[in-house]
């Protein structure tokens, strides 16, 4: 059992105690075992290291992701570390999407230079300029791919590298627990 498993089990015990379910307590070993099996194809390596992206590619991609789900009064794609999810995905199960990604970034670089000058990168543009450029390409396969990957990274299990501190789930109001009790929502509580 590694550290992660121990913390998961402690989490389970804590959450079980709070709901006080006799059943769940008596079945803890089974549930904990089920949780231990939550092994993922993509395990997050050490922080702040990229497996696929160069630092430049990561900065540009993250800037796009941050336009798709921006940071405002609540955290967005950047704080959810969506960029690490995208990097792991392109390194593993989404490796067939690499060409669209790499070509799309090159194309974005060209468009940025053409519109805003030779020394400019997309990530260095103002938010308004970024929005304007992305609006121009929002129907392209590249944008669609970045949008999809940003959303997957924002809302998939944190074990995949994104959805850091469950920022994505908190945004939606989603909770991932094994046990809820009725009433579940406003109208069944009325």
């Amino acid at each position: 059992m590694d550290d992660q498993d121990i913390s998961r089990r402690q989490f389970m015990i804590k959450s079980c105690a709070s709901v006080g379910s006799a059943w769940i307590l008596s079945h803890l070993p089974e549930i904990a075992a089920a949780q231990q099996h939550a092994r993922h194809v993509v395990q997050s390596p050490a922080d702040d290291k990229f497996e696929f992206f160069t630092a430049e590619q990561a900065a540009e991609t993250e800037a796009i992701a941050a336009q798709i789900i921006p940071t405002d009064d609540t955290p967005g794609a950047r704080e959810a570390r969506v960029i690490y999810f995208i990097d792991r995905a392109l390194a593993t199960f989404a490796s067939s999407d690499r060409p669209v990604f790499v070509d799309g970034l090159k194309d974005l670089e060209k468009q940025t230079r053409k519109r805003f000058g030779k020394t400019k990168t997309f990530s260095a543009l103002s938010s308004e300029q970024q929005t304007e450029l992305l609006t121009g390409i929002e129907k392209s396969p590249f944008f669609e791919l970045v949008r999809t990957m940003t959303i997957l990274g924002m809302f998939s299990n944190p074990e995949y590298g994104g959805n850091h501190n469950q920022i994505g789930w908190k945004l939606l109001g989603f909770e991932d627990h094994f046990h809820f009790k009725s009433p579940f929502g406003f109208y069944d509580a009325e």
Partner: protein
């Protein structure tokens, strides 16, 4: 592992090979092994158990952890037989021990009396093979009861004024009502309709050694970690193994059912996980591979005796594919519903179940209120169609809508149309080098009208529940099916059906076929309960025939 697993050696004489460990195969395996027969169940998918299941949307929904994998086993699709089919996902089915009962939503309506004799009551319908079933509701009723009690179903008998008679109440009380259920009741009351507690194959209280539902919300598309969903994996398959006479051979893909010169089935040839070929001899074969894989395997099993495919002398194998129709109207509500918690559906409405000549077309269905969206897929496409797809407004809408969205969903009839079918694609091959299935499907005009009618009723229901905003999804010809029905229909006339009323193939006396393919008509959208009742009934008849020496064997 808690359950014992038998491994038969090559010399052991096997009574029945069952192809497919799903909704029907699991039940038949348990019934036949309990009756004393030696059984090998060959399942193309893996043997996963509750400990393997996870709350992992990426893995289960995007990467197809427990359903057919389109990369290894693609299918092709075309709307009509005149078109050339293109590679495009058109069917989904469970692909592991337990089959679709592992990942299904667990809606568990019985069919009504009318579903079995509607052709007689309504008349013929042009452009369809609309027909009565060779069995009645009354004949199946004891098996519906058996299904509910053997598997564990929660519901409230007598709560729907439209239900057909039942001999016993449900074994378990209904699951708790959700906000969607309260709003369904509220809307139905205003409209003079009747919302009743949803019958669900999820246990509301501990039952036969299994624990009650924990309301985690991961039902549809996921396997239940708590064993509360009454899948065949969590119930009858374990019991079959405990007899010591049933081996579940997972990761094994049957490529052909073999016959001898007399036209009797001798066994099956299959690939194991490593791609090595094996032959398993048996006295008889029961094919339960689902309404799409079953006809495909019969086509793949063609031989000089059966040049059109096994059991297909009439050419009806693969024909009359039915998906069920769907309709939807959505609403955004003032307060959080938190529909991500607990089971998908808590109230159902059957006021429009029967066809009504006054509507001017054939068709009927049921309506429920549900959300069934997980975070990723909701963010990808769950907002109303006029919403921005990225940026600050998109983010604000996600936040507002996720806990407050609800869909009134109609589940409707599909007519059996001969040109809607499963065949082998002449060009595309799967990872084993076998021709993939080609799906041809276009909804009958009456089915389109029924979907339109149900969309209007769904909109009325959502509006009557008092939302802030309402939107609908355009009714279109379906190109994707998760209910796979009708492709080896049962009937008394061997010229118009593939199996008889006991699920024996008209052409081959030691081949039985029992799954969604046996359906003559589609019902109103929730087929699993009926597939499983048919499986219990077929088992009784197979056991009777085998014990009476009525199944001729090649061994």
């Amino acid at each position: 592992m808690i359950h014992q697993q038998v491994r038969f050696d090559a010399q052991t004489e096997i009574d029945f090979v069952i192809i497919g460990a799903g909704a029907a195969g699991g039940i038949i395996a348990r019934e036949l092994s309990t009756a004393g027969f030696r059984i090998v169940v060959i399942e193309q998918g893996p043997y996963m158990t509750e400990k393997d299941f996870e709350h992992d949307e990426l893995k289960y929904m995007r990467q197809r952890a427990i359903t057919n994998d389109y990369k290894r086993e693609p299918n092709t699709f075309r709307a009509t037989e005149k078109e050339k089919a293109k590679v495009q996902p058109a069917v989904i089915y469970g692909r592991q021990v337990g089959g679709g009962t592992v990942h299904f939503t667990a809606n568990f309506w019985r069919f009504h009396e009318v579903d079995f004799n509607e052709r007689s009551r309504w008349g013929s319908i042009a452009g369809s093979g609309f027909d009565d079933w060779p069995i009645s509701y009354a004949e199946l009723e004891p098996y519906y009861t058996k299904t509910e009690w053997e598997l564990g179903v929660s519901g409230l008998a007598g709560a729907s004024p439209f239900d057909s008679p039942r001999s016993k109440p449900y074994p378990l009380p209904p699951l708790p009502i959700k906000s969607s259920g309260v709003l369904a009741e509220r809307g139905a009351k205003k409209l003079g309709w009747h919302a009743f507690p949803a019958p669900m194959a999820i246990i509301s209280q501990p039952y036969r050694g299994r624990s009650a539902c924990l309301h985690c919300g991961f039902c549809e598309y996921f396997g239940c970690e708590a064993k509360a969903k009454s899948s065949t994996l969590a119930t009858v398959i374990r019991e079959a193994e405990q007899t010591g006479r049933c081996e579940i051979r997972a990761d094994s893909c049957v490529r052909k059912i073999e016959v001898n010169k007399a036209g009797l089935v001798t066994g099956v040839t299959y690939f194991d996980k490593s791609g090595r070929e094996h032959f398993q001899r048996a006295r008889a074969v029961v094919l339960c591979a689902n309404g799409a894989e079953t006809p495909r395997l019969l086509f793949l099993s063609k031989s000089s005796l059966f040049p059109q495919g096994l059991a297909n002398s009439t050419g009806k194998v693969g024909k009359y594919l039915m998906f069920n129709g769907h309709a939807r109207a959505s609403g955004l509500f003032e307060h959080p519903l938190n529909e991500f918690k607990s089971v998908a559906v808590s109230r159902v409405i059957h006021d429009f179940y029967d066809s009504d000549p006054k509507r001017g077309f054939y068709g009927g269905g049921g309506i429920d209120m549900r959300f069934v969206s997980y975070p990723m897929n909701f963010a990808l496409g769950g907002l109303p169609p006029d919403s921005p797809r990225w940026g600050p407004k998109y983010k604000a809408l996600l936040r507002e809508h996720f806990t407050r969205t609800l869909h009134a969903t109609g589940h409707t009839t599909s007519l059996p149309v001969e040109s809607n079918n499963i065949s082998l694609d002449p060009n595309v091959k799967d990872a084993w080098g076998l021709p993939v299935m080609r799906v041809t499907y276009k909804d009958h005009a009456e089915d389109m009208k029924t979907m339109g009618f149900f969309q209007a009723r769904c909109k009325e229901l959502i509006e009557a529940a008092g939302p802030r905003k309402v939107w609908t999804r355009e009714v279109r010809n379906q190109t994707f099916g998760f209910h796979l029905l009708g492709t080896c229909r049962m009937g008394n006339d061997p010229r118009t059906s593939v199996v008889d009323k006991y699920h024996r193939a008209h052409d081959v006396s030691n081949l039985f076929i029992c799954d969604g393919s046996s359906f003559v008509t589609s019902g109103r959208g929730q087929p699993t309960c009926t597939i499983q009742a048919l499986a219990f009934r077929a088992s009784d008849h197979i056991i009777r025939m085998a014990k009476n020496g009525d199944i001729k064997s090649a061994i």
